[in-house]
Symmetry: C2
């Protein structure tokens, strides 16, 4: 089972869009995929048309062992793609946990209670390196870093890499698998320049697939669908399908 967190504390770089669509593309390649929405803003849940009221089964109640996995895990419009939705009460978890022992191990313990029914677990994280993100980093084994090909892209990276390094002290398996260049508008010089910079910076750890800017990707969440169901012939479907192929091709090497 591969455990992947899609992470970048810079806001609006395509984390949620990547988790939703990469997850769906992997499920279409006969992988059994579980998506976990660890962002209190619950954009991933909304991407599949799900909004959980306070107190209802969600990642929050699952972490606190108030519900069993079977009560929380939801199906999606894609076969073999399931979702653990965020709950609004997730936002308070950071404060509730502050100072308690083992607060960063909640998600790792929760994964231990899940049925062994998945090939991939992919976590969507908030735009921060706080308690929820640390919890997810302690539970995952791979980090995918989406980068927008815009000026601020490289600025926060040293902090992100530093955080991953620190977490590896308690989670030895954690590795940065790669960087996904995204929201790329090949018509602008800025995007081309930044893409070059990203490749110089990360070398082989940049996925070959670049996710192009495509308004269909921004429209799909309004219909609660991943891109390949919303518009099977657009660039967004092509790019995320190609990315999923790259991810699957790495399975042999692991």
């Amino acid at each position: 089972m591969r455990k992947i967190i899609v992470l970048n504390q810079k806001g609006g770089v395509g984390k949620t869009t990547t988790v939703a669509n990469l997850g769906a593309a992997l499920a279409q390649m006969d992988r059994r995929v579980l998506l976990i929405d660890a962002d209190p803003q619950a954009n991933l849940s909304l991407h599949f048309g799900v909004e959980i009221p306070r107190g209802e089964p969600s990642l929050y109640t699952l972490l606190r062992q108030e519900d069993a996995p079977g009560d929380v895990i939801l199906p999606t419009p894609v076969k073999d793609l399931s979702l653990v939705p965020a709950g609004i009460d997730l936002a308070g978890l950071g404060v509730e946990l502050a100072g308690s022992e083992g607060r960063h191990l909640l998600m790792r313990r929760m994964l231990g209670r899940l049925p062994d029914a998945y090939d991939y677990i992919i976590v969507d994280s908030p735009p921060s390196l706080g308690v929820l993100t640390l919890n997810a980093l302690c539970a995952m084994e791979e980090v995918f870093i989406p980068l927008q090909t815009e000026f601020f892209a490289l600025q926060g990276l040293s902090k992100l890499l530093g955080t991953v390094k620190r977490v590896r002290r308690v989670n030895k398996k954690l590795r940065i698998t790669g960087v996904i260049a995204g929201m790329h508008d090949a018509r602008t010089c800025l995007a081309k320049e930044i893409l070059e910079e990203i490749k110089n910076h990360f070398g082989p750890r940049v996925f070959k697939t670049v996710i192009r800017k495509n308004v269909r990707l921004a429209e799909a969440p309004g219909f609660g669908l991943p891109i390949m169901q919303y518009d099977p012939d657009c660039h967004g479907t092509e790019d995320y399908t190609a990315l999923a192929r790259e991810v699957v091709a790495m399975e042999a090497a692991r």
Copy 2:
């Protein structure tokens, strides 16, 4: 003196771009403007080419009273526009303050120590509603909410409005001045639909100026300049200048 926080916990909606360029446009209209970078990612500081090493004078040392305002406040390439840069140690403030009395009043007290030399103070906030944002909300009097004309735009708003309401218990002057529709691509139906929804939702509290998508706005930070100095003839300059005129026109009514 007007004290404005530009806030939206959704990431990548144009908060930093708005603070940098609205601030510069107001300074060009003979207002004396102080920008405060309250985001540990320090994108606003970088927008003006500033990166502060750990321990050097910054918002962090100013809040902790380790430095005087005169040691921290920096000039920018624009006359009458000054900057309080973020420091990397700002990220740790949330944890350092957790549980201490009056932790939300640090910025309000800091503002009291500033010289009375500004017409506008504008704060750039991180994509979260955590301690730094609460600190800034307790010190400000107006909230400007940038909204991207995309699907996830309206989702987090009820939480944002709820947070502002809660803060008003300790800061009676705090008001939501308005919503700025931004990163708008008028060619797409999605953007037009969402813009309509924003106007239906907020009525008169939507600024008439819509900030159009314009790659020049994304290029300007690479040169450490606000848009009107980087490219005086582009849409970005037109839009932020028009927004500044609207903001100034409200002065009489206050």
